[in-house]
Symmetry: C2
Subunit: 199 residues, 2 copies
Protein backbone atom coordinates (compact mmCIF):
# COMPACT_ATOMS: atom_id res chain seq x y z
CA UNK A 1 0.00 0.00 0.00
CA UNK A 2 1.10 3.51 -0.76
CA UNK A 3 1.67 6.21 1.77
CA UNK A 4 2.41 9.06 -0.59
CA UNK A 5 -0.85 8.81 -2.48
CA UNK A 6 -3.83 7.68 -0.46
CA UNK A 7 -6.34 8.57 -3.20
CA UNK A 8 -6.54 6.80 -6.55
CA UNK A 9 -6.63 8.53 -9.88
CA UNK A 10 -10.32 7.78 -10.11
CA UNK A 11 -11.27 9.70 -7.02
CA UNK A 12 -8.99 12.54 -7.94
CA UNK A 13 -10.59 12.94 -11.34
CA UNK A 14 -14.02 12.74 -9.83
CA UNK A 15 -13.19 15.43 -7.31
CA UNK A 16 -11.77 17.55 -10.08
CA UNK A 17 -14.89 17.27 -12.18
CA UNK A 18 -16.95 18.26 -9.19
CA UNK A 19 -14.72 21.24 -8.58
CA UNK A 20 -14.87 22.29 -12.22
CA UNK A 21 -18.64 22.26 -12.03
CA UNK A 22 -18.78 24.31 -8.84
CA UNK A 23 -16.30 26.80 -10.26
CA UNK A 24 -18.12 27.07 -13.56
CA UNK A 25 -21.41 27.60 -11.79
CA UNK A 26 -20.12 30.33 -9.51
CA UNK A 27 -18.38 32.07 -12.37
CA UNK A 28 -21.43 32.07 -14.59
CA UNK A 29 -23.90 32.93 -11.83
CA UNK A 30 -21.84 35.93 -10.77
CA UNK A 31 -21.49 37.05 -14.34
CA UNK A 32 -25.07 36.69 -15.55
CA UNK A 33 -27.22 36.00 -12.50
CA UNK A 34 -28.73 32.75 -11.32
CA UNK A 35 -31.81 32.64 -13.49
CA UNK A 36 -29.94 33.68 -16.58
CA UNK A 37 -27.75 30.61 -16.45
CA UNK A 38 -29.02 27.21 -17.47
CA UNK A 39 -27.79 23.92 -16.17
CA UNK A 40 -26.70 23.18 -19.70
CA UNK A 41 -24.50 26.27 -19.78
CA UNK A 42 -22.72 25.16 -16.64
CA UNK A 43 -22.19 21.63 -17.88
CA UNK A 44 -20.84 22.92 -21.19
CA UNK A 45 -18.53 25.38 -19.47
CA UNK A 46 -17.12 22.60 -17.30
CA UNK A 47 -17.05 20.38 -20.36
CA UNK A 48 -19.20 17.58 -19.00
CA UNK A 49 -22.70 16.36 -19.76
CA UNK A 50 -25.79 17.53 -17.92
CA UNK A 51 -26.31 14.02 -16.65
CA UNK A 52 -22.89 14.08 -15.04
CA UNK A 53 -23.65 17.37 -13.37
CA UNK A 54 -26.63 15.81 -11.65
CA UNK A 55 -24.54 12.85 -10.57
CA UNK A 56 -22.40 15.28 -8.58
CA UNK A 57 -24.98 17.72 -7.31
CA UNK A 58 -28.51 17.13 -6.17
CA UNK A 59 -29.81 20.22 -7.94
CA UNK A 60 -28.98 23.56 -9.48
CA UNK A 61 -28.90 25.36 -6.14
CA UNK A 62 -26.49 22.88 -4.57
CA UNK A 63 -23.81 23.94 -7.04
CA UNK A 64 -23.28 27.11 -5.07
CA UNK A 65 -22.89 25.53 -1.65
CA UNK A 66 -19.94 23.29 -2.13
CA UNK A 67 -19.41 22.51 1.54
CA UNK A 68 -22.34 22.40 3.92
CA UNK A 69 -20.75 19.72 6.07
CA UNK A 70 -18.93 20.31 9.36
CA UNK A 71 -21.53 22.97 10.10
CA UNK A 72 -23.57 20.73 12.32
CA UNK A 73 -20.60 19.38 14.21
CA UNK A 74 -19.23 22.86 14.81
CA UNK A 75 -22.61 24.09 15.95
CA UNK A 76 -23.05 21.29 18.45
CA UNK A 77 -19.48 21.68 19.63
CA UNK A 78 -20.02 25.39 20.24
CA UNK A 79 -22.67 24.50 22.78
CA UNK A 80 -21.06 21.45 24.28
CA UNK A 81 -17.59 22.88 24.64
CA UNK A 82 -18.41 26.44 25.56
CA UNK A 83 -16.09 28.05 28.04
CA UNK A 84 -17.37 27.50 31.60
CA UNK A 85 -19.55 30.26 32.91
CA UNK A 86 -20.66 31.26 29.42
CA UNK A 87 -24.36 30.98 28.71
CA UNK A 88 -25.59 28.96 25.75
CA UNK A 89 -26.93 31.97 23.83
CA UNK A 90 -23.62 33.73 24.35
CA UNK A 91 -21.72 30.74 23.04
CA UNK A 92 -23.96 30.57 20.00
CA UNK A 93 -23.62 34.27 19.29
CA UNK A 94 -19.87 34.05 19.34
CA UNK A 95 -19.83 30.94 17.23
CA UNK A 96 -22.02 32.49 14.58
CA UNK A 97 -20.01 35.68 14.51
CA UNK A 98 -16.88 33.62 14.19
CA UNK A 99 -18.30 31.86 11.16
CA UNK A 100 -18.94 35.27 9.68
CA UNK A 101 -15.35 36.18 10.32
CA UNK A 102 -14.08 32.98 8.78
CA UNK A 103 -15.95 33.85 5.66
CA UNK A 104 -14.69 37.38 5.91
CA UNK A 105 -11.21 36.00 5.43
CA UNK A 106 -12.15 35.68 1.82
CA UNK A 107 -13.30 39.27 1.89
CA UNK A 108 -10.08 40.15 0.15
CA UNK A 109 -11.57 38.45 -2.86
CA UNK A 110 -13.80 41.08 -4.41
CA UNK A 111 -16.07 38.27 -5.48
CA UNK A 112 -17.01 37.50 -1.91
CA UNK A 113 -19.36 40.43 -1.54
CA UNK A 114 -20.92 39.55 -4.89
CA UNK A 115 -21.37 35.99 -3.75
CA UNK A 116 -23.22 37.01 -0.61
CA UNK A 117 -25.38 39.37 -2.59
CA UNK A 118 -26.14 36.68 -5.13
CA UNK A 119 -27.36 34.33 -2.42
CA UNK A 120 -29.41 36.96 -0.63
CA UNK A 121 -31.05 38.24 -3.78
CA UNK A 122 -31.89 34.92 -5.39
CA UNK A 123 -34.96 33.39 -3.75
CA UNK A 124 -34.02 29.87 -4.70
CA UNK A 125 -30.57 30.24 -3.17
CA UNK A 126 -31.77 32.03 -0.08
CA UNK A 127 -34.25 29.25 0.57
CA UNK A 128 -31.64 26.61 -0.03
CA UNK A 129 -29.22 28.24 2.39
CA UNK A 130 -31.99 28.49 4.92
CA UNK A 131 -32.80 24.81 4.58
CA UNK A 132 -29.11 24.07 4.93
CA UNK A 133 -29.12 25.60 8.39
CA UNK A 134 -32.47 24.30 9.44
CA UNK A 135 -31.27 20.84 8.63
CA UNK A 136 -29.06 21.10 11.70
CA UNK A 137 -31.69 22.52 13.99
CA UNK A 138 -32.66 19.19 15.48
CA UNK A 139 -29.07 18.40 16.38
CA UNK A 140 -28.64 21.80 17.97
CA UNK A 141 -31.85 21.34 19.94
CA UNK A 142 -30.59 18.03 21.24
CA UNK A 143 -27.25 19.51 22.22
CA UNK A 144 -28.91 22.32 24.14
CA UNK A 145 -31.32 19.98 25.88
CA UNK A 146 -28.47 17.75 26.88
CA UNK A 147 -26.46 20.70 28.16
CA UNK A 148 -29.23 21.80 30.52
CA UNK A 149 -30.50 18.34 31.38
CA UNK A 150 -33.89 18.85 29.79
CA UNK A 151 -35.86 16.22 27.88
CA UNK A 152 -34.94 15.91 24.21
CA UNK A 153 -38.18 17.44 23.05
CA UNK A 154 -38.22 20.38 25.43
CA UNK A 155 -39.94 23.25 23.68
CA UNK A 156 -37.82 26.07 25.05
CA UNK A 157 -34.67 24.33 23.87
CA UNK A 158 -36.15 23.90 20.44
CA UNK A 159 -37.17 27.55 20.49
CA UNK A 160 -33.68 28.70 21.43
CA UNK A 161 -32.16 26.62 18.67
CA UNK A 162 -34.58 27.93 16.09
CA UNK A 163 -34.26 31.53 17.22
CA UNK A 164 -30.48 31.43 17.29
CA UNK A 165 -30.33 30.13 13.73
CA UNK A 166 -32.83 32.73 12.61
CA UNK A 167 -30.79 35.39 14.32
CA UNK A 168 -27.92 34.36 12.11
CA UNK A 169 -29.78 35.19 8.93
CA UNK A 170 -31.02 38.40 10.47
CA UNK A 171 -27.45 39.36 11.25
CA UNK A 172 -26.21 38.42 7.83
CA UNK A 173 -28.39 41.02 6.17
CA UNK A 174 -27.27 43.74 8.51
CA UNK A 175 -24.52 46.19 7.74
CA UNK A 176 -23.17 46.10 11.29
CA UNK A 177 -23.09 42.37 12.14
CA UNK A 178 -21.48 42.68 15.53
CA UNK A 179 -23.96 45.23 16.80
CA UNK A 180 -26.92 43.45 15.25
CA UNK A 181 -25.85 40.21 16.89
CA UNK A 182 -25.65 41.97 20.20
CA UNK A 183 -29.19 43.27 19.96
CA UNK A 184 -30.76 40.13 18.61
CA UNK A 185 -29.05 37.88 21.11
CA UNK A 186 -29.74 40.21 24.00
CA UNK A 187 -33.36 39.16 23.65
CA UNK A 188 -32.40 35.49 23.79
CA UNK A 189 -29.87 35.85 26.56
CA UNK A 190 -32.25 37.63 28.88
CA UNK A 191 -35.15 35.37 28.06
CA UNK A 192 -33.05 32.27 28.46
CA UNK A 193 -31.51 33.42 31.72
CA UNK A 194 -34.98 33.90 33.14
CA UNK A 195 -35.99 30.30 32.65
CA UNK A 196 -32.62 28.54 32.79
CA UNK A 197 -30.50 30.38 35.32
CA UNK A 198 -26.82 29.59 35.10
CA UNK A 199 -26.82 28.29 31.52
Amino acid sequence: MRVTEPTGRRERKKAQTRQSLADAALELFLERGYDQVGVKDIADYADVSVTTLFKHFSGKEALVFDQDDDLEAALVAAVRERTPGQSIPQALREHLLLKQSQLAVHAADPRFADFTRLVQETPALRDYAHRMWTRHEAALTRAIAEAVGAPEDDVSCAALARFALEARSLILQHAEPRRAAGEAFALLEHGWAASHPGN
Copy 2:
Protein backbone atom coordinates in the same frame (compact mmCIF):
# COMPACT_ATOMS: atom_id res chain seq x y z
CA MET B 1 -76.68 50.95 -11.46
CA ARG B 2 -77.81 47.86 -9.67
CA VAL B 3 -77.99 47.42 -5.96
CA THR B 4 -78.97 43.79 -5.84
CA GLU B 5 -75.92 42.66 -7.73
CA PRO B 6 -72.76 44.53 -6.98
CA THR B 7 -70.55 42.09 -8.86
CA GLY B 8 -70.88 41.46 -12.56
CA ARG B 9 -71.30 38.09 -14.15
CA ARG B 10 -67.76 38.34 -15.36
CA GLU B 11 -66.18 38.58 -11.95
CA ARG B 12 -68.44 35.90 -10.63
CA LYS B 13 -67.42 33.47 -13.31
CA LYS B 14 -63.79 34.29 -12.84
CA ALA B 15 -64.07 33.73 -9.12
CA GLN B 16 -65.86 30.49 -9.79
CA THR B 17 -63.13 29.13 -12.04
CA ARG B 18 -60.60 30.08 -9.43
CA GLN B 19 -62.62 28.28 -6.81
CA SER B 20 -63.05 25.22 -9.00
CA LEU B 21 -59.31 25.06 -9.42
CA ALA B 22 -58.60 25.40 -5.71
CA ASP B 23 -61.24 22.77 -4.91
CA ALA B 24 -59.98 20.40 -7.54
CA ALA B 25 -56.43 20.80 -6.30
CA LEU B 26 -57.29 20.17 -2.68
CA GLU B 27 -59.45 17.19 -3.57
CA LEU B 28 -56.78 15.57 -5.67
CA PHE B 29 -53.89 16.40 -3.36
CA LEU B 30 -55.68 14.87 -0.39
CA GLU B 31 -56.57 11.82 -2.38
CA ARG B 32 -53.25 11.05 -4.03
CA GLY B 33 -50.66 13.28 -2.42
CA TYR B 34 -49.04 16.45 -3.72
CA ASP B 35 -46.36 14.93 -5.90
CA GLN B 36 -48.69 12.36 -7.38
CA VAL B 37 -50.90 15.04 -8.88
CA GLY B 38 -49.85 16.97 -11.96
CA VAL B 39 -50.94 20.46 -12.83
CA LYS B 40 -52.57 18.94 -15.86
CA ASP B 41 -54.71 16.67 -13.69
CA ILE B 42 -55.97 19.63 -11.74
CA ALA B 43 -56.76 21.68 -14.81
CA ASP B 44 -58.59 18.76 -16.39
CA TYR B 45 -60.56 18.07 -13.23
CA ALA B 46 -61.65 21.71 -13.11
CA ASP B 47 -62.24 21.59 -16.85
CA VAL B 48 -59.95 24.44 -17.85
CA SER B 49 -56.65 24.62 -19.66
CA VAL B 50 -53.32 24.53 -17.88
CA THR B 51 -52.57 28.04 -19.08
CA THR B 52 -55.70 29.29 -17.40
CA LEU B 53 -54.67 27.67 -14.17
CA PHE B 54 -51.48 29.69 -14.19
CA LYS B 55 -53.41 32.86 -14.92
CA HIS B 56 -55.19 32.36 -11.60
CA PHE B 57 -52.40 30.98 -9.46
CA SER B 58 -48.74 31.85 -9.44
CA GLY B 59 -47.69 28.24 -9.07
CA LYS B 60 -48.69 24.76 -8.06
CA GLU B 61 -48.22 25.43 -4.36
CA ALA B 62 -50.39 28.53 -4.38
CA LEU B 63 -53.40 26.38 -5.25
CA VAL B 64 -53.54 25.16 -1.70
CA PHE B 65 -53.43 28.54 -0.01
CA ASP B 66 -56.47 30.23 -1.33
CA GLN B 67 -56.36 33.22 0.98
CA ASP B 68 -53.11 34.61 2.27
CA ASP B 69 -54.46 38.15 2.45
CA ASP B 70 -55.71 39.87 5.60
CA LEU B 71 -52.91 38.09 7.42
CA GLU B 72 -50.68 41.10 7.41
CA ALA B 73 -53.39 43.50 8.46
CA ALA B 74 -54.48 41.23 11.30
CA LEU B 75 -50.91 40.78 12.44
CA VAL B 76 -50.24 44.50 12.52
CA ALA B 77 -53.56 45.13 14.22
CA ALA B 78 -52.75 42.59 16.91
CA VAL B 79 -49.78 44.71 17.91
CA ARG B 80 -51.31 48.12 17.37
CA GLU B 81 -54.61 47.43 19.07
CA ARG B 82 -53.47 45.15 21.86
CA THR B 83 -55.31 45.61 25.14
CA PRO B 84 -53.55 48.18 27.31
CA GLY B 85 -51.05 46.73 29.71
CA GLN B 86 -50.43 43.73 27.51
CA SER B 87 -46.90 43.27 26.23
CA ILE B 88 -46.24 42.93 22.52
CA PRO B 89 -45.05 39.32 22.74
CA GLN B 90 -48.15 38.46 24.75
CA ALA B 91 -50.36 40.06 22.14
CA LEU B 92 -48.61 38.15 19.37
CA ARG B 93 -48.87 34.88 21.20
CA GLU B 94 -52.58 35.27 21.66
CA HIS B 95 -53.08 36.37 18.10
CA LEU B 96 -51.22 33.39 16.70
CA LEU B 97 -53.08 30.96 18.94
CA LEU B 98 -56.32 32.60 17.92
CA LYS B 99 -55.50 32.00 14.26
CA GLN B 100 -55.01 28.36 15.14
CA SER B 101 -58.38 28.32 16.77
CA GLN B 102 -60.06 30.01 13.87
CA LEU B 103 -58.81 27.27 11.67
CA ALA B 104 -59.91 24.75 14.24
CA VAL B 105 -63.47 25.85 13.57
CA HIS B 106 -63.21 23.74 10.49
CA ALA B 107 -62.02 20.87 12.61
CA ALA B 108 -65.48 19.37 12.29
CA ASP B 109 -64.52 18.70 8.70
CA PRO B 110 -62.53 15.50 8.83
CA ARG B 111 -60.51 16.84 5.94
CA PHE B 112 -59.01 19.55 8.07
CA ALA B 113 -56.57 17.31 9.85
CA ASP B 114 -55.58 15.79 6.53
CA PHE B 115 -55.04 19.25 5.12
CA THR B 116 -52.70 20.24 7.91
CA ARG B 117 -50.82 17.00 7.58
CA LEU B 118 -50.53 17.47 3.84
CA VAL B 119 -48.95 20.88 4.29
CA GLN B 120 -46.58 19.78 7.02
CA GLU B 121 -45.45 16.69 5.21
CA THR B 122 -44.93 18.21 1.79
CA PRO B 123 -41.67 20.18 1.70
CA ALA B 124 -42.82 22.42 -1.13
CA LEU B 125 -45.98 23.35 0.75
CA ARG B 126 -44.29 23.80 4.08
CA ASP B 127 -41.80 26.18 2.52
CA TYR B 128 -44.52 28.07 0.73
CA ALA B 129 -46.52 28.51 3.93
CA HIS B 130 -43.39 29.70 5.65
CA ARG B 131 -42.75 32.28 2.94
CA MET B 132 -46.36 33.36 3.20
CA TRP B 133 -45.81 34.38 6.79
CA THR B 134 -42.35 35.83 6.40
CA ARG B 135 -43.66 38.01 3.63
CA HIS B 136 -45.29 40.08 6.36
CA GLU B 137 -42.30 40.25 8.61
CA ALA B 138 -41.29 43.73 7.53
CA ALA B 139 -44.74 45.10 8.26
CA LEU B 140 -44.75 43.48 11.66
CA THR B 141 -41.32 44.87 12.41
CA ARG B 142 -42.52 48.34 11.50
CA ALA B 143 -45.61 48.01 13.68
CA ILE B 144 -43.54 46.92 16.66
CA ALA B 145 -41.00 49.69 16.18
CA GLU B 146 -43.80 52.22 15.98
CA ALA B 147 -45.44 50.84 19.11
CA VAL B 148 -42.30 51.30 21.18
CA GLY B 149 -41.09 54.45 19.48
CA ALA B 150 -37.95 52.88 18.09
CA PRO B 151 -36.43 53.62 14.68
CA GLU B 152 -37.91 51.64 11.81
CA ASP B 153 -34.81 49.52 11.38
CA ASP B 154 -34.28 48.71 15.04
CA VAL B 155 -32.69 45.29 15.25
CA SER B 156 -34.42 44.09 18.39
CA CYS B 157 -37.82 44.88 16.84
CA ALA B 158 -36.88 42.97 13.73
CA ALA B 159 -35.68 40.12 15.92
CA LEU B 160 -38.91 39.98 17.87
CA ALA B 161 -40.94 39.95 14.66
CA ARG B 162 -38.87 37.20 13.16
CA PHE B 163 -38.82 35.11 16.33
CA ALA B 164 -42.56 35.45 16.88
CA LEU B 165 -43.29 34.23 13.36
CA GLU B 166 -40.86 31.37 13.77
CA ALA B 167 -42.47 30.49 17.05
CA ARG B 168 -45.71 30.05 15.15
CA SER B 169 -44.30 27.32 12.94
CA LEU B 170 -42.66 25.72 15.96
CA ILE B 171 -46.01 25.65 17.70
CA LEU B 172 -47.81 24.28 14.69
CA GLN B 173 -45.76 21.12 14.69
CA HIS B 174 -46.38 20.53 18.35
CA ALA B 175 -49.08 18.28 19.73
CA GLU B 176 -49.90 20.67 22.56
CA PRO B 177 -50.01 24.10 20.89
CA ARG B 178 -51.09 26.07 23.92
CA ARG B 179 -48.33 24.74 26.11
CA ALA B 180 -45.72 25.00 23.37
CA ALA B 181 -46.72 28.60 22.76
CA GLY B 182 -46.33 29.32 26.44
CA GLU B 183 -42.80 27.98 26.53
CA ALA B 184 -41.60 29.49 23.29
CA PHE B 185 -43.06 32.89 24.05
CA ALA B 186 -41.81 32.85 27.63
CA LEU B 187 -38.35 33.27 26.17
CA LEU B 188 -39.46 36.25 24.12
CA GLU B 189 -41.53 37.86 26.84
CA HIS B 190 -38.74 37.81 29.38
CA GLY B 191 -36.11 38.90 26.92
CA TRP B 192 -38.29 41.65 25.57
CA ALA B 193 -39.30 42.88 29.02
CA ALA B 194 -35.63 43.22 29.92
CA SER B 195 -34.88 45.66 27.13
CA HIS B 196 -38.28 47.31 26.61
CA PRO B 197 -39.91 47.56 30.01
CA GLY B 198 -43.61 48.26 29.90
CA ASN B 199 -44.19 47.03 26.36
